[in-house]
């Protein structure tokens, strides 16, 4: 049996998030105390570097290195930011951490401030998370009252304060430069890197941005030691990762597994297999920026590098499981629809390119696609990836490219045979009545919302395919299985 290890989720579901005592009873704020009284900022950063912790928001940038870069930039004012703008459809690990264990994030931000030389922290959280915000506000208040936040923390002379900034829920604002713009009251648009936020971020000052889950790991690394942490995981990806399992899987929920766990273990052992015992088809990782992995990837150990090599990415950790009833072309269109909606419009490859990708997919789904369209999708997709300004555009064609790569035959079927094997793309389906089976009970005709079915009582009926809207009502009502799809 594959073991989960709860590190980032260590207190979720255990403590009362609105009671700081519960957190302190479980080694809470001991890491902050240790760092402030026993370690220098450089020593702390060294520990993080040795632990091998990488950013859990998706990019996988080494956290210790990020802190070091921010530390080295000389400035009169620096900022520490927590990115809680969780935007991937189907991902909710950051919300769970903030709702279940807000103090772990506060503690880690204070450690971050001490290491980088910042005394001001900002949490950028989407206003769609009211309960997480409420609990975070309570936690900040309690930490201040306990002298663990504010002026002269634990009598060490170190000051650190945290304020909350609300996001309006734009996907692109999870990108750190767009996030900073949004916090400054500007449009949530990314800017060209470099300069990186660690050099010039919020208000033009060095700013260290980390994700919620990254922060949640940090107190444990300090308390348990970097070697302890680095023993978990693979060579280049240390520790654990929280995934949100969703889709056609029995045990929908959050899981936290060591890096290097395989998809098979996640889906069949922890996830309890596919709903109704159907066949596994693909799993979408990394949300709209990720790609689809298939049965041939079931035994790949999941870590940052392997997922990229397989044409997907870690992303924030959403895992949407699909079975034989899901059409991969329609899935690609679904994600593109999301990115087209969420593109900020600043750079043309993303703004115009993704729209064109979407139109090509729609054309295929409507039954008007040609084999050349598949090549066009590929070419355009790679151009968008290469030329977009920020992470959103650079990764938005991934769902299209990876489904073409892994399910090429389904695309070909859609454009040549005009067939959707999963029965999802309605335009490609034609309903017929088997005249051998039809006894002329008229039930289908009476239930057809558009009167597309004609026929005399006790005689075989016919469907007018021009009128038919493919709602499937006839098929559902027929007691003799006489209605079928081509």
């Amino acid at each position: 049996m594959t073991k989960q290890i709860r590190i980032a989720l260590r207190n979720c579901g255990v403590i009362d998030p609105e009671r700081i005592e519960d957190y302190i009873a479980r080694e809470g704020y001991q890491a902050l105390g240790k760092v402030l009284t026993e370690l220098t900022p450089d020593e702390t950063i060294e520990k993080l570097k040795k632990s091998g912790l990488r950013g859990r928001g998706g990019g996988g940038f080494p956290t210790g290195l990020k802190w070091e870069i921010t530390r080295k930039v000389a400035a009169d004012q620096k900022y520490v930011v927590c990115n809680a703008d969780e935007g991937d459809p189907g991902a909710f690990m950051d919300r769970s951490v903030l709702e279940g264990d807000p103090h772990s994030v506060i503690e880690a931000m204070a450690i971050n401030g001490y290491c980088t030389g910042a005394n001001h922290g900002l949490v950028y959280i989407r206003a769609e998370y009211p309960l997480a915000i409420e609990r975070l506000i309570i936690a900040i208040k309690q930490a201040k009252e306990a002298g663990l936040l504010g002026k002269n923390i634990l009598g060490t002379g170190y000051d650190f304060d945290i304020e909350i900034r609300y996001g309006a829920g734009a996907f692109v604002c999870g990108e750190e430069t767009a996030l900073i713009n949004s916090m400054e009251g500007l449009r949530g648009e990314p800017t060209v890197k470099p300069p990186f936020p660690s050099e010039s971020g919020y208000m033009g000052k060095p700013t260290n941005v980390n994700n919620v889950e990254t922060y949640a790991n940090i107190p444990v690394i300090i308390n348990k030691g970097e070697e302890w942490f680095a023993r978990i995981g693979t060579k280049k990806s240390k520790g654990t990762k929280v995934f949100a399992l969703a889709g056609k899987i029995n045990n929908v929920g959050l899981i936290e597994v060591p890096m290097g766990t395989t998809l098979r273990q996640v889906i069949y052992e922890i996830g309890g297999g596919i709903v109704n015992g159907k066949e596994f088809k693909a799993v979408q990782t990394g949300g709209p920026s990720g790609g689809c992995l298939t049965s041939k990837h079931l035994d790949v150990p999941i870590d940052y590098d392997n997922l990229i090599a397989a044409g997907s990415m870690m992303g924030s950790g959403g895992m949407i499981v699909m079975d034989q009833d899901d059409c991969m072309v329609a899935i690609a269109k679904f994600y593109l629809d999301f990115t087209v909606e969420e593109s900020c419009g600043k750079c043309s490859p993303c703004r115009i390119g993704n729209k064109r990708l979407y139109e090509l997919l729609d054309k295929i789904i409507q039954g008007n696609g040609t084999p050349e369209d598949i090549d066009k999708l590929r070419n355009l997709g790679s151009v968008i990836k290469d030329t977009s300004l920020c992470g959103l555009g650079q990764s938005s064609p991934n769902p299209v490219l990876s489904t073409i790569e892994n399910f090429h035959e389904e695309y070909v079927e859609h454009v040549t045979a005009k067939k959707c094997r999963s029965g999802v793309c309605k335009s490609l389906m034609i309903y017929f009545i088997d005249i051998e089976k039809c006894i002329g009970c008229t039930l289908c005709a009476r239930n057809c919302p558009v009167n597309a079915i004609t026929g005399e009582r006790k005689q075989a009926h016919y469907i007018d395919t021009d009128k038919c809207i493919k709602c499937g009502a006839c098929m559902e009502k027929c007691k003799f299985n006489a209605v079928f799809i081509n």
Partner: protein, 131 residues
């Protein structure tokens, strides 16, 4: 810093006493998962019910809210720790189910349907394993 350490140890001890067998201050602990998703599936009703009914039925217990217990498919989820026993996690807990849990599991120690097998390692259990 010393104060913080001491406070941590004290609170830890206090928390541990709650679940010890035969300790004069040990008590039945009921934890209700109350993240957004749990509340949406009715956890608040279960929480209120547990709190009120345990008191009405004169069963001394500490009912607390927690964050997400991660079993989305089985919300609302409730964890119960009887002193001296391993925690038991229940899924699909409606008010009716909560009543059954109080009468059968909490009062008599009989298991009722809906137990979720908990299979993860904690930081402590993992550390013990590797040493």
């Amino acid at each position: 810093m010393e104060d913080l350490k001491r406070l941590g140890d004290e609170l830890k001890e206090k928390a541990e006493i709650l679940s010890q067998k035969d300790h004069p201050r040990s008590i039945i602990q009921v934890r209700v998962a109350m993240a957004t998703c749990g509340i949406a599936s009715g956890a608040r009703l279960v929480f209120e019910f547990m709190k009120e009914e345990l008191e009405k039925r004169s069963i001394p217990a500490r009912v607390t809210q927690t964050g997400c217990m991660t079993y989305c498919y089985a919300e609302p989820t409730v964890e119960i720790i009887l002193p001296g026993k391993e925690p038991v996690m229940f899924g699909f807990v409606t008010v009716k189910k909560a009543d059954e849990i109080i009468e059968k599991f909490i009062r008599k120690g009989e298991l009722v349907d809906g137990v979720i097998p908990v299979t993860y390692e904690t930081i402590e259990s993992y550390s013990a394993e590797i040493n």
